[in-house]
């Protein structure tokens, strides 16, 4: 076990026009409580702005939250922008099972639906980044 230089850094983003941010803000807080460094873009972020923020903030993982159903075009543009950077793109929200194959093909590495346990999301990020968070908060 190596000592990580820093905990995982995560960008949580609300790309596109959907303004339902309760879930995104819940995940931001859960990951912060899990000891990660989390940056939140706010609403109405363009896919290009998400890519730019991910690179400037030097994050390991980009978590996109889309609840309107328009996740395919948005994810495609973010994945294209981040290709080759080694950053993982994951998606949360209302995502039909049938879209999963197409999302995987464009580079989305994981999909977390409504009600996904916080430990599952945090565990996936730790595993993917090979980084453990320092003493996560009690709950």
């Amino acid at each position: 076990m190596k000592n990580p230089p820093r905990p995982p850094r995560v960008l949580v983003a609300k790309p596109g026009l959907d303004g339902h941010d309760r879930g995104a803000k819940v995940v931001v807080q859960a990951l912060r409580d899990a000891g990660m460094e989390v940056i939140y873009t706010g609403l109405h972020a363009s896919p290009e702005a998400v890519v730019k923020a991910a690179i400037e903030e030097d994050v390991d993982v980009v978590g996109l939250s889309v609840l309107s159903g328009a996740h395919l075009p948005v994810c495609r543009r973010v994945c294209e922008g981040l290709r080759g950077t080694g950053k993982a793109v994951v998606l949360g929200g209302v995502v039909p099972q049938g879209d999963e194959a197409e999302l995987r093909a464009m580079g989305v590495e994981a999909v977390f639906r409504m009600g996904a346990p916080f430990e599952e999301i945090a565990g996936w990020i730790r595993h993917r980044t090979g980084k453990s968070s320092p003493s996560p908060a009690s709950k």
């Binding site: 303004g19 706010g42 309107s68």
Partner: protein
């Protein structure tokens, strides 16, 4: 749990529920008569016995022609009012051919670019008779103008149009997020619409203040009501500052309230809310007309209570939500649909919600007598507790410097987001029971198969084609002149509805009008989270 041990029951709003209530708990709590100040028991003397609640399912998708078909189907099934859903580009003031609209045109509601669309959506629907609610906020004035212009074309003058604008922009900054302009100019737009309706469209409700979305964002039932009142005060103050009398504006403001959670707590919330609002309007704003002090409300939405797991259970939840709204004295219901956790409703889901309300109103006796719970020791005691909690939550917002300041600084958004997180943790820990999720859930059950509304991208392409045709057909000089007039009015203090009405008649688009206002007002800057 050990059945011999009593358990502590605490309502979400933060007061304890006793195992039994007696006359002593309701002593001195006579709620008076329905139809009389302070309207705890309802705003009409006979309530549903005289007229059941209005039924208006939220509907709209794809093109205006597709939406028109759904409207007609709902009306054919006995619905007596409409509630229009707009797609996200329309809600954010973008045209269907804007690059930012990609994938969103007609997806969660009807796509509207110009007056032609509004005329098409209401074809064959008499706008002087069928009351129509427009679920639109930042571009509310544009949709109001299109509604009035479409009615005019049907021969219905503005004075006869029956409608309700959602037009509650302050809640968009807290939940739902369909904002464009900064808070200050946004409130000015609301004041313009109130003034216009007060003077020219007396049958139009200018605002429907949405406790609903505050609750979805993390507010307790008491906070939902209190924050809605603080928002309503901001609109009242802005309209009164324009020189409109309180008795001309208070009646233009209605409320849209949530129903998920403990049934009794919701009923108490509605009853206490009516009492509190009556006192605010009469005693603080000095309204003289008793009607000004009546809290009129739409209820029946409870998205936060619905589950993606075992979605048919949501049909049952919806029926109990309708019961809560009816026992609480709602004027209008738009009942949530069982597939709401997946997408906008299918026609089947929407009609099932309509049938749920009809069964409640016509088969099981909900309309027989006004406020059937009036005088219940429990309900009256709970109503009194709830009123105290509402007043306390109003004070908390005041302590933050008022609603507009709290929104600009993000204090209210952070508070509710923290509460939403805590409530998600309680749900995941099984402390908040959810049948089929953390109670009686079947391990390893396959993902439910639900028939959902399918997005039709071909209709989006048709919509964009229609818009391009229209741009080629209209007089660009007339459009330019009308937009200049909008720009001048926005820069000054004149009411913006009349110039926007001229612009929509010249076939200026939603994107052009909202873009013009954005040039003048700028954009809201979201506080950091």
């Amino acid at each position: 749990m050990d059945p011999s041990q009593d358990r502590k029951v605490v309502a979400e709003s933060g007061f304890e529920i006793k195992p039994v209530y007696t006359a002593a708990d309701a002593a001195g709590l006579d709620p008076g008569r329905p139809g009389e100040f302070p309207f705890t028991r309802g705003i009409h003397p006979q309530m549903y016995r005289k007229q059941p609640w209005t039924m208006r399912q939220y509907a709209g998708f794809g093109t205006p022609a597709q939406t028109n078909e759904r409207f007609r189907s709902l009306i054919a099934h006995g619905q007596n009012a409409l509630n229009v859903a707009f797609d996200l580009p329309t809600q954010l003031g973008l045209d269907s051919d804007d690059p930012r609209a990609e994938g969103e045109v007609g997806r969660v509601g009807m796509a509207v670019d110009t007056l032609d669309d509004m005329e098409r959506a209401f074809e064959g629907i008499p706008l002087g008779k069928v009351s129509t609610a427009l679920t639109i906020n930042a571009p509310a004035l544009v949709m109001l103008a299109m509604h009035v212009a479409a009615a005019e074309k049907q021969g219905v003058p503005a004075s006869e149009v029956r409608g309700t604008l959602q037009n509650d922009i302050l809640k968009e900054f807290i939940g739902r997020g369909a904002w464009i302009y900064p808070a200050g100019p946004s409130v000015r737009l609301v004041a313009d619409s109130i003034e216009f309706c007060a003077k020219s469209a007396p049958k139009y409700n200018a605002v429907s203040v949405c406790g609903y979305h505050l609750r979805e964002s993390g507010a307790t039932p008491a906070e939902e009501m209190a924050l809605a009142f603080e928002i309503a005060r901001a609109y009242l103050d802005a309209a009164i500052a324009r020189g409109v009398a309180v008795d001309d504006v208070a009646g233009k403001i209605t409320f849209n309230l949530n129903v998920f959670g403990n049934l009794w707590e919701q009923v108490a919330k509605f009853r206490a809310g009516r009492k509190r609002w009556a006192s605010i309007v009469r005693d603080e704003y000095r309204a003289k007309d008793p009607k000004s002090a009546q809290l009129r409300m739409l209820a029946g939405g409870g998205g936060g209570g619905l589950t993606i797991e075992e979605p048919e259970n949501n049909i049952v939840r919806g029926a109990y939500y309708a019961l809560a709204a009816a026992l609480g004295g709602a004027q209008t219901m738009a009942l949530c649909c069982y597939d709401e956790a997946y997408s906008i409703p299918t026609e089947k889901a929407s009609l099932l919600s309509l049938r749920t309300m009809q069964i409640l109103a016509e088969e099981v006796g909900l309309c027989d007598t006004a406020d059937p719970l009036g005088g219940s020791y429990f309900v009256e005691a709970l109503t009194a507790e709830m009123e105290k909690k509402i007043v306390a939550a109003e004070k908390e917002v005041r302590a933050l410097g008022g609603m507009v300041k709290a929104i600009e600084e993000g204090t209210i958004q952070r508070k509710l987001a923290r509460q939403a997180y805590e409530s998600e943790k309680r749900l995941r820990a099984g402390e908040t029971p959810k049948v089929g999720v953390n109670r009686h859930a079947v391990a390893g059950a396959p993902a439910p198969k639900v028939e959902t509304h399918a997005y039709d991208s071909a209709s989006a392409d048709r919509k964009i084609g229609d818009l391009r045709d229209l741009r080629a057909r209209r007089s660009s000089a007339e459009v330019r002149a009308s937009l200049d007039a909008v720009r001048r009015a926005a820069g000054g203090t004149a009411n913006l509805v009349p110039p926007i009405l001229e612009a929509v008649k010249a076939r200026a688009t939603v994107g052009e009008i909202c873009g013009t206002l954005k040039d003048v007002f700028g954009e809201f800057q979201e506080p950091r989270f």
